[in-house]
C-alpha cells in the first residue's frame, strides 16, 4: 500500500509525476487549486521526471467542483503537450515515405541503367524508373507542402482551443478559491 501521511484525517494528499521543464508551471497550477507542495523527488531512472506530493485541507468549500476542474486541467495540459508533439507528424510520415520510394526508384533505375552488362532493353527500363522516381519526387513536393500547411493550421486551432480551455478552467478555479478564501 502507498504511504499514508500522518494527518490523513484532515488533509488530502496528491502525488503527481511532472515533466521537469514544466515543473514551475504545473506547481503554480496546483497552488492555485489550493494545494501546497510538501515533497519533491527526482525520478530514479528518468532525468526529465519529477515526483511531487501536494497537500490540501480535507474540508474545503466547492471541493467537488475543484476536483473536477483539476482533472480537466490535467487532461488539457497533457492534450496540449500531445498536440505540440504531433504537430507535423502526418507531413513527416508522408515525406519520409515518398522519399524512400523516390530514393528506391532512382537508385534501382540508375543501377540498372548504368550497368555495363545490361541489355539495351533493361537500360531503357532503368532510365524510365529513374525518370519516374524524379517525377514522383518533384510532383510530391506541392502536396506535401499543402499537407504541412493544413496540419499547421489544424494544430494551431487545436492548441489554441486547449489553451483557451486551460485559461477558462484556471479562471473558474481562481473564482472558486477566492470564494473559499472569503
Amino acid at each position: 500500500m502507498e504511504k499514508i501521511y500522518d494527518d490523513y484525517k484532515n488533509t488530502d494528499y496528491l502525488k503527481v509525476t511532472v515533466l521537469r521543464e514544466k515543473f514551475e508551471e504545473v506547481n503554480g497550477y496546483y497552488i492555485t487549486l489550493g494545494y501546497r507542495q510538501i515533497e519533491i523527488k527526482e525520478d530514479k531512472v528518468y532525468g526529465n521526471l519529477l515526483h511531487l506530493v501536494f497537500a490540501r485541507p480535507h474540508n474545503i468549500e466547492n471541493k467537488d467542483r475543484l476536483q473536477y476542474l483539476q482533472v480537466k486541467l490535467e487532461s488539457h495540459l497533457n492534450a496540449l503537450s500531445r498536440n505540440e508533439e504531433k504537430r507535423h507528424t502526418k507531413s513527416l510520415v508522408v515525406s519520409l515515405s515518398i522519399a524512400v520510394i523516390v530514393v528506391a526508384l532512382v537508385t534501382i533505375g540508375l543501377s540498372i541503367a548504368f550497368n555495363i552488362n545490361a541489355k539495351s532493353g533493361l537500360i531503357v527500363f532503368g532510365t524510365i524508373l529513374t525518370v519516374i522516381g524524379f517525377f514522383v519526387g518533384v510532383s510530391a513536393i506541392r502536396p506535401i507542402v499543402k499537407i504541412y500547411q493544413k496540419e499547421k493550421v489544424d494544430y494551431q486551432v487545436k492548441l489554441a482551443k486547449n489553451q483557451s480551455e486551460i485559461t477558462l478552467i484556471l479562471e473558474e478555479i481562481k473564482r472558486l478559491v477566492k470564494i473559499n478564501e472569503e
Binding site: M1, Y8, K9, L14, R20, Y46, N48, K63, Y68, N78
Partner: protein, 522 residues
C-alpha cells in the same frame, strides 16, 4: 529546478503531468492465477467430454439431440432475448458439451440449495416487516410502483423518512464518517468493493474504536469485488479489534458458474437510525483521492427514519445466509426517530433469492410511466430489448429522455457495447450525453413521478446476476436534489450525435455485433 541528472535517460510519451495511482500488485497476479486455473478446468472438462463423445460415436448423435432439446428449453425460458440468442449459438456450435455447461449455469440447479435457505430466512424474518400501506392520495404511477414492490418482493412501503442526496462520493463519505463517530449500538456495512487506502483508514479507525468499545460492527464484502484490494493485513486488524467480517461468494480456483454471481450492494446502517446507500463503494477512487478513470462522478443517499429498518432487514438476512447462524433480529429494529414526511420511501433489494427481476422491472415501470421527463445516469448502458423499446417509445412520444454516460471508460469492451447501444437510441430521439473527463458511476433513474437511487446499473449483470439494493421514492425534496445534480452535470456533458456514416460501415457493424454476443456476460 537545476537538472543534476541530465545524463540520465529521458522519459518520452509521459505527457506533462500524471497523477500517481496505486497498482494492483500481488492481487492482480492472484486473480490471473485463479482465472487460469478455472480456464484449465473448463478446457479439461471439454476435453474429457469430447474424448468420450469421440470414443462412442453414437454419443455424438445423442449430444446433438440433447443440445437441440436444450435450445428449445432456452427458447421457452424467462431469459431475455439477447441471452437466449447467445446461448442458442453456443449450444449449437459446441453441441458436444454445451448442454452440460448450460445445465451447470442454470440457477434453478446450482442455486437450488441456496434458494431454499434464503426462503427459510425470508419466512422466518417476515414478522419484522412493517408496512404502512399505500396512501390513496398517491398518483396512479407511484401507487402501481408501490404495489409492485410490495407484492413482487414483499418490500414494506415506508413514510416518515428524511432523505438527503449526495451528488458525490466525497460528500457522502464525509457524512458517513461523521455519523459513524456517533454510533452507539451497531454498525452494519455491506459493499461490493472494500479497498485499502485513505478512506478505509479513516473509516477503519472509527470502526476499530467502536468495536473495541462494544458496538456490534459487521461487514459483508464481495470476495471478487474486494479481491486484491481488501488486504489480509487489514482484515486481520479488523478481526483483532472485534469487527466481524463475512465474504460473499468466495473466489475459489474451481470452475463454477456461481462465481459470476456477486454481491453488488452498497449500504451502511448505523444504530438502526440512519442508513446510506448509492453508487459508491468503499475505496479512494470514489472520493477522488485516487485517480483511475478521470473524475469519478458518483452519488449517495442518506435515510433517517422508518425506512432504515428495511436496510437492517436486508443486511441481517444476508448475514444469516453467510454466517449460517440464526439470531433474533428484534434488537436491531424500531430505533429510528419519527419524522413527519409524506413521501413514500421503499428500500428494496434484488438478487437470486427473488423470483422476479425486481431491479429491472422497477426501472421498466418508472420509464413506462414517464409522461414528461426521464433522466438516467448510469456507468454502463446494456439494456435488454424490452427496456430499449420502452425508451425509444418514450422519446418518440415526446418525453424528454436523457441519459448521462461516462466519457472515460473503466472497461473498454463494455464501453464499446454501451456506446453502440447509446448511438442506436440517439438516432431515435433519446438524448445521450457523456460527462467530459469523467467516469460516471452514479446509478439513478428519475421521472416526474419518482426516483430510484441505488446500486443497480442498466446492464444485464445488475438485472440478472448480481445482488443489488436501491431506494424508490416520490419525495419532492429528494427529487429536487437529484434534478439539481442532473442539471449541474449536463453543463459538463457533451451530447452524442448519431453518426450515420460510421454505423453503415461494414466492419463497424460486424464489430458491434460481435460485442453484443458478449453483452450478457458484461
Amino acid at each position: 529546478m537545476k537538472n543534476k541528472y541530465s545524463h540520465k535517460a529521458q522519459a518520452t510519451n509521459v505527457g506533462v503531468v500524471k497523477v500517481k495511482t496505486e497498482g494492483k500488485g500481488l492481487g492482480a497476479l492472484k486473480t490471473l492465477i485463479v482465472a487460469m486455473l478455472i480456464l484449465m478446468q473448463l478446457l479439461l472438462l471439454i476435453y474429457i467430454y469430447v474424448s468420450f463423445a469421440s470414443a462412442f460415436k453414437w454419443y455424438l448423435t445423442v449430444s446433438f439431440i440433447l443440445s437441440l432439446i436444450t435450445c428449445i428449453y432456452v427458447l421457452s425460458s424467462k431469459k431475455n432475448g439477447l441471452s437466449k440468442a447467445v446461448w442458442i449459438i453456443f449450444l449449437l456450435l459446441g453441441f458436444m458439451f454445451s448442454h452440460v455447461i448450460y445445465l451447470l449455469s442454470d440457477d434453478r440447479f446450482f442455486f437450488y440449495g441456496a434458494r431454499k435457505r434464503y426462503n427459510k430466512i425470508f419466512k422466518k424474518s417476515e414478522k419484522y416487516i412493517k408496512d404502512n400501506g399505500i396512501d390513496e392520495n398517491l398518483s396512479k404511477a407511484v401507487e402501481n410502483d408501490c404495489n409492485f414492490l410490495k407484492n413482487g418482493g414483499r418490500f414494506p412501503i415506508c413514510n416518515n423518512t428524511l432523505l438527503n442526496y449526495f451528488s458525490s462520493g466525497a460528500k457522502l463519505f464525509d457524512d458517513v464518517i461523521d455519523r459513524l463517530k456517533q454510533a452507539e449500538s451497531f454498525i452494519f456495512i455491506e459493499y461490493y468493493i472494500i479497498s485499502d487506502g485513505i478512506l478505509l483508514k479513516r473509516i477503519g479507525d472509527i470502526l476499530k474504536e467502536k468495536a473495541s468499545s462494544g458496538v456490534d460492527v459487521r461487514i459483508i464484502y464481495d470476495d471478487m469485488g474486494s479481491h486484491g484490494t481488501f488486504s489480509r493485513k487489514t482484515k486481520k486488524e479488523f478481526l483483532e479489534a472485534g469487527i466481524k467480517l463475512k465474504p460473499f461468494n468466495r473466489l475459489v480456483p474451481v470452475f463454477s458458474v456461481a462465481l459470476n454471481y456477486r454481491d453488488h450492494r452498497k449500504m451502511v446502517i448505523v444504530d438502526g437510525k440512519t442508513a446510506y446507500t448509492g453508487g459508491c463503494n468503499l475505496a479512494d477512487e470514489y472520493i477522488n483521492e485516487k485517480r483511475l478513470y478521470g473524475y469519478w462522478k458518483d452519488n449517495g443517499l442518506r435515510l433517517d427514519g422508518q425506512a432504515v429498518d428495511s436496510f437492517s432487514l436486508m443486511f441481517l438476512r444476508q448475514w444469516e445466509y453467510l454466517s449460517k447462524e440464526q439470531e433474533d433480529y428484534s434488537p436491531f429494529f424500531n430505533h429510528y426517530a419519527y419524522y413527519k414526511k409524506d413521501g413514500v420511501v421503499v428500500p428494496y433489494a434484488d438478487g437470486l433469492e427473488y423470483q422476479l427481476h425486481i431491479g429491472k422491472q422497477v426501472y421498466e415501470n418508472i420509464i413506462s410511466n414517464a409522461r414528461e421527463k426521464l433522466y438516467i445516469m448510469t456507468p454502463y448502458f446494456i439494456p435488454d430489448e424490452i427496456l430499449t423499446g420502452i425508451l425509444i417509445n418514450k422519446a418518440i412520444s415526446g418525453v424528454d429522455v436523457r441519459i448521462i454516460l461516462p466519457e472515460v471508460p473503466d472497461k473498454k469492451i463494455v464501453y464499446g457495447v454501451t456506446l453502440n447501444n447509446a448511438e442506436k437510441l440517439s438516432e431515435l430521439g433519446v438524448k445521450v450525453y457523456r460527462m467530459k473527463n469523467a467516469f460516471v458511476h452514479s446509478k439513478v433513474v428519475m421521472s416526474e413521478n419518482s426516483v430510484v437511487v441505488g446500486s443497480i446499473n442498466i446492464d444485464l449483470r445488475s438485472f440478472y446476476q448480481q445482488f443489488e439494493c436501491a431506494v424508490y421514492s416520490n419525495d419532492k425534496t429528494l427529487m429536487g436534489q437529484v434534478e439539481v445534480d442532473f442539471n449541474e452535470t449536463f453543463k459538463d456533458c457533451q451530447e452524442i450525435v448519431y453518426d450515420n456514416r460510421r454505423r453503415k460501415n461494414v466492419i463497424y457493424r460486424l464489430a458491434a455485433g460481435l460485442l453484443q454476443i458478449f453483452a450478457p456476460l458484461m
